[in-house]
Structures are given as structure tokens and as C-alpha cells.
């Protein structure tokens, strides 16, 4: 329970070079060309409960985007720096900073990002934060470095939700943690299973399915107040909640008519209406990035395949064709990439598809329950290994993988939270 251990997997190049070419357009300059960046120890950072520069370094390394060089010295943001020397050591950028205790007990954290090639300052931050937010501040600095050097918003300060379960002890927890698995907080716990957590787009609420009433029922919980609302408790099973991009509605699966079908409901549980209409299973709805359509899993053609239909109904069009078992569609925030789980040759693998071209790439094996990072660059998923379920992260180009494990029990059902203000 205490702490998740992050292991960095060696960067792995996966098969499917043609498909890779499609997706690598989107991630040009990332992964294959790591940006060399030096990170110095921050001046006076021992006053903070955790080492700010070490957290920044770990974030940047884990992203796979950077080749992190230890500056092997402490450099304050106020120091005059010989940037040419860092350029000569191979670093294109340098991170320096300082920490200072303020009279009211907070920490003043200053940071500068220097361009060693142009010999200029790229960015800076100067924030006073409560000591308990030391990690968050370090993640925000890492986000700033990531964004200034790649042009893409960083996800180090985002959070994830997942389920931690110990079935033998009948202990089920909905947990919220930082994106690196640190700073776990229990949002809900009980003796019955919890599945399918989904963050609201504004990051204040999580929808999930709890079995506490001996059947699956959908709740929305405000993370700050702890207030829970039953969104759907119809006769039969209630499951698979997914938020609309504007946070006003949820798509979900209900079996009230005798077969599992997709419905849309207001976030407060009012205005329930049926969306899909088939004789079989329609489940796992996910709104498209523009909110105008819904991707879902259906067995209308035999085995499960992924389909798409308009948010107001109409004809469903099939999206996946290869393999007999394609489930769990997830759409990137820019709407360009579909991630899902496909069973091919026995095992369950995580795939990504460029929706414009239909090109597929296999990203990871032994995977289930994918969830995109809000910048669309990473996918978190559950993976089985050694009889236990753990969480892993893979970059959308398949090159970088990390794994999060715990000492006891399973962690599964990840949901990556949104960018926070």
C-alpha cells in the first residue's frame, strides 16, 4: 500500500514498421531522437522534504523523450552559468534552480531552463508552495521542461485512478495517485469489487462501478467532498461509465431490456435515453474527442468488434476488422488515435490505430483496460505477470515502457486523469 515502485523498462522497438511510420509522424523527434538535457541539483534543496531535482530527473527519464545528463553539481537559478561547457558535454538544455524556506513556512521554488545552443533562457518558474506539495511542484517544473523542449504539454503533474484489490482479504480500494504512482490516496474502499473508474474531464469527480449492492451499479464521486451520487441503478447490470468531453453526460451500459445496450444519461443521473439498438451485446462506450460520436464494443457480427455511431443514434459503422476479438476502445484527446485490446494468436495485446489511415501498431502484449494520458503520448494499461496484475505505461510509438507494481495484491483498471489548472 505504501508506495509503488517504478521500474524503467529498456526501450523496446516493436514490430510493424509500416504502421510505425504512420504513428511516428505524430511523435516526430520523440523517442527515436532523445533530447539531451542536463539537470543540476537545486541550490539549498535539502530544506524540502524531497529532492526537487531528483524528481524532475526521474520524470524526464521516464518519459523516454530525454537523455538526462547529471550535471554533477549544484547550480542556482541566480548563478551565472558557463552554458558553452554544458553544450560541449552534449547537453542541449540545462535545468537549474533553488529552494528557499519562506518566513510563513512554505517553500519558494525557483527554476530556469537554459538553451545551451542559443545560450539563452527558455523558461522559468517561481512558486511558493506548501511543503507537502514539493513533489507536485517538481512535477510542474518537469511538465514545463517537457513542453518547452517538445512543444507538447507534459503529464507529470497529472493523476491516475486505479483499483487496488486483495481478493483473499476482500479488500477493494479505488486509489488516486500521481502519474508516477507516488502519493497514493484512497478515494473509496469496501468489501465488494470496484471496476471501470473514469475521471470527469475537469478532474473533480470519478465515475465507477461498485458491486456493494450485489450487482454492478454506477456511482459518481466528488473526490474533494467524498459525496457520491448513484447515476444508474436500473434493473440488471449498470456498467462502463464514460464521460462526454464537456463533462455534462455519461455514456454507459445497461442490461434493463435483457441485453446489454448503450445509454446516455446526464451526469446527475437524469434524462436517461437509449443510444444503441442491437440484439446482442453493446458495451464499453467512449465518446469521440469532439463528443459527436460514440465508439463501443459489440458482438453483432459474432465475436466482439469495435464500432462507432452518432451520439444521437443512427447507423453504426465497424472500426476493427482484423482478429476475432477486439474490445475496450479508447480515443486520444486529439481524436486521431484509437487504442484498444485485440486477441491475436491467443494473447491479448494493446494496439493503436491511426484513425485517418487505419494503420495499426501493436504496442504491448498481455494488456487490458487501456487509458490515454491527456496529452495522447502515453497509454496506461493493466498487465498480468507472475500471477499478479500490475499497471504499465507505453508510449504511443511503442518505444518506451514502464511498469508500476505493488508489494501485495493486484492493481488494475487504470484511468488517467485530465490536465489540471
Amino acid at each position: 500500500m505504501k508506495k509503488l515502485h517504478t521500474l524503467l523498462f529498456s526501450a523496446t522497438l516493436l514490430a510493424g514498421t509500416a504502421a510505425h511510420a504512420q504513428l511516428s509522424v505524430e511523435i516526430a523527434g520523440v523517442g527515436s531522437n532523445q533530447i539531451p538535457v542536463a539537470v543540476a541539483a537545486f541550490a539549498n534543496e535539502s530544506v524540502a522534504p524531497e529532492q526537487v531535482s531528483a524528481i524532475i530527473r526521474a520524470d524526464l527519464e521516464r518519459s523516454g523523450v530525454f537523455k538526462v545528463i547529471d550535471a554533477r553539481q549544484t547550480i542556482s537559478d541566480s548563478a551565472s552559468i558557463d552554458l558553452a561547457a554544458f553544450k560541449a558535454s552534449g547537453a542541449d538544455a540545462l535545468v537549474v534552480g533553488s529552494v528557499e524556506k519562506t518566513p510563513d513556512g512554505r517553500l519558494q521554488v525557483r527554476y530556469k531552463l537554459m538553451d545551451t545552443v542559443k545560450q539563452s533562457q527558455l523558461s522559468q518558474l517561481n512558486d511558493a508552495v506548501a511543503t507537502r506539495f514539493t513533489r507536485l511542484e517538481a512535477h510542474k517544473i518537469a511538465d514545463d521542461v517537457y513542453e518547452k523542449l517538445t512543444g507538447v504539454r507534459g503529464i507529470f503533474s497529472t493523476r491516475i485512478a486505479y483499483v487496488k484489490e486483495n481478493r483473499a482479504a476482500r479488500d477493494y480500494q479505488l486509489v488516486v495517485a500521481d502519474a508516477d504512482g507516488e502519493g497514493e490516496q484512497i478515494a473509496a474502499h469496501g468489501k465488494e469489487p470496484i471496476i471501470s473508474p473514469a475521471w470527469s474531464p475537469d478532474g473533480t469527480r470519478v465515475a465507477y462501478v461498485s458491486f456493494e449492492l450485489r450487482k454492478p451499479v454506477i456511482y459518481v464521486q466528488n473526490l474533494v467532498t467524498g459525496q457520491r451520487t448513484v447515476v444508474a441503478n436500473e434493473k440488471g447490470s449498470n456498467s462502463a461509465p464514460a464521460w462526454s468531453p464537456d463533462g455534462s453526460k455519461l455514456a454507459l451500459s445497461l442490461s434493463k431490456t435483457g441485453n446489454t445496450q448503450i445509454y446516455i444519461v446526464n451526469a446527475d443521473g437524469s434524462g436517461l435515453r437509449r443510444l444503441s439498438n442491437s440484439n446482442g451485446i453493446d458495451t464499453e462506450p467512449q465518446f469521440s474527442a469532439d463528443g459527436q460520436s460514440v465508439y463501443f464494443t459489440s458482438d453483432r457480427s459474432g465475436g466482439p468488434q469495435i464500432y462507432k455511431m452518432g451520439v444521437n443514434g443512427g447507423q453504426a459503422t465497424r472500426v476493427t476488422f482484423k482478429g476475432n476479438y477486439n474490445i475496450s476502445p479508447r480515443v486520444s484527446s486529439d481524436g486521431k488515435t484509437l487504442a484498444w485490446i485485440s486477441q491475436r494468436e491467443g494473447g491479448f495485446s494493446l494496439y493503436a490505430m491511426d484513425l485517418a489511415s487505419g494503420q495499426e501498431q501493436r504496442l504491448a502484449d498481455g494488456a487490458s483496460e487501456p487509458s490515454f494520458s491527456p496529452n495522447g503520448k502515453y497509454i496506461m494499461y493493466a498487465t498480468k505477470g507472475g500471477g499478479r496484475v500490475a499497471l504499465a505505461v507505453v508510449s504511443v510509438d511503442g518505444r518506451v515502457k514502464q511498469r508500476l507494481t505493488t508489494r501485495a495484491g493486484n492493481i488494475r483498471e487504470p484511468s488517467w486523469g485530465p490536465f489540471m489548472k
Binding site: 469489487p193 450487482k215 454492478p216 442490461s255 446489454t260 451485446i281 474490445i327
Partner: protein, 176 residues
């Protein structure tokens, strides 16, 4: 109980008849005598009579050795059809529920843990619905039944392998 009552009735009727059996003169209408029979103190030996009481009968649902103790219906791999070995389970509980309209059940469908969480939940629902439809065909009313799914979340058997998976491809009848 009913037999004992009718025996008592015959005895009373016989007693009344014998009371009216005094010699009757011909052509003479016997006077109509309205009289309530005064209860006579029972002879001492009637204390030997026994008033029977009915004991509570055992609800067959609670008989651990009865047919209703079996509440699980098993399914083949990738199948959502009640097998022959599950039909007696469905029939026995249907018979009980049609006689006991006040009883309600949850039918909980289950799957093994291969595949996705939510798709397995939908597959477990198909198993629960297969049992629900079979019971409806045998006359159990919809209001007595709710078919739900636990998916892969509450396995009866843990681990991997065909015997474990087979044990978890199941629908359970749960009385409420």
C-alpha cells in the same frame, strides 16, 4: 387434520340424531322445541382427548439435502445456453418460485478472467439472462427475478487452467 375434523363432525351429527330418536306418535306433529343444547360438562375421561397442533413445516429452500440446495448453473466455454445438467436446477427453482410468489431471486452471471473486464461483465449478463429466460418459460414472473452480472470479479475458483475456468463459467441463483 382435515380427517380428524370430519370425524368430529360425524360424531356431533350422530349425537344430535340420537337425541331426536325418542318414540314418535303417528299423525302427531312433534312440537318444535327451540332449545340450545346446554353444554354439558365433559366427562372426566375426555381429558384423554388430544387437540393436535400443526408443527412448522421445513421450507424446502432451507433443506441442505434438498434439490433446491443446488443453485448453480454451469456453462460451456464461450456458451450462453443452459446445459442439460443445469436444467433440473432451473426447473426445481422455477417450481419453488411459482409456488412461492413472495420470494425473489438475483441471478448472478459469472465468467472466467480471460478477456476484458467490461466485456466479461456483458458475457456474465448473457449467462444470467439465459437462466432468467428459462425460468420465465417455466412460469416464474419477471418481478420475482433480476438477472445481473458479476463478470470476472467474484470467481469461485482462483488460478488458471480449464477446471478453474469451468467452475467460474456459472450463474448462481441467490434468494433475497
Amino acid at each position: 387434520m382435515r380427517n380428524i375434523k370430519s370425524v368430529a363432525l360425524i360424531a356431533v351429527a350422530a349425537a344430535v340424531l340420537s337425541a331426536c330418536s325418542s318414540p314418535v306418535k303417528l299423525q302427531e306433529t312433534p312440537p318444535v322445541v327451540e332449545k340450545t343444547p346446554t353444554p354439558t360438562a365433559p366427562p372426566a375421561d375426555t381429558t384423554r382427548d388430544i387437540r393436535p397442533v400443526e408443527t412448522g413445516s421445513v421450507d424446502p429452500l432451507n433443506d441442505p439435502k434438498g434439490v433446491l440446495a443446488n443453485r448453480s448453473v454451469y456453462f460451456d466455454f464461450d456458451s450462453y445456453v443452459v446445459r442439460d445438467d443445469g436444467k433440473p436446477v432451473v426447473e426445481n427453482h422455477s417450481a419453488y418460485l411459482t409456488k412461492n410468489k413472495q420470494r425473489h431471486i438475483l441471478i448472478q452471471g459469472n465468467t472466467d478472467d480471460r478477456g476484458g473486464t467490461e466485456y466479461n461483465l456483458a458475457l456474465g449478463q448473457k449467462r444470467a439472462e439465459a437462466v432468467r429466460k428459462s425460468m420465465a418459460a417455466l412460469g416464474v414472473t419477471d418481478s420475482q427475478m433480476e438477472a445481473v452480472s458479476l463478470g470476472e470479479e467474484k470467481p469461485k475458483a482462483t488460478g488458471t487452467g480449464e477446471s478453474v475456468w469451468a467452475e467460474n463459467r456459472r450463474a448462481d441463483i441467490v434468494y433475497q
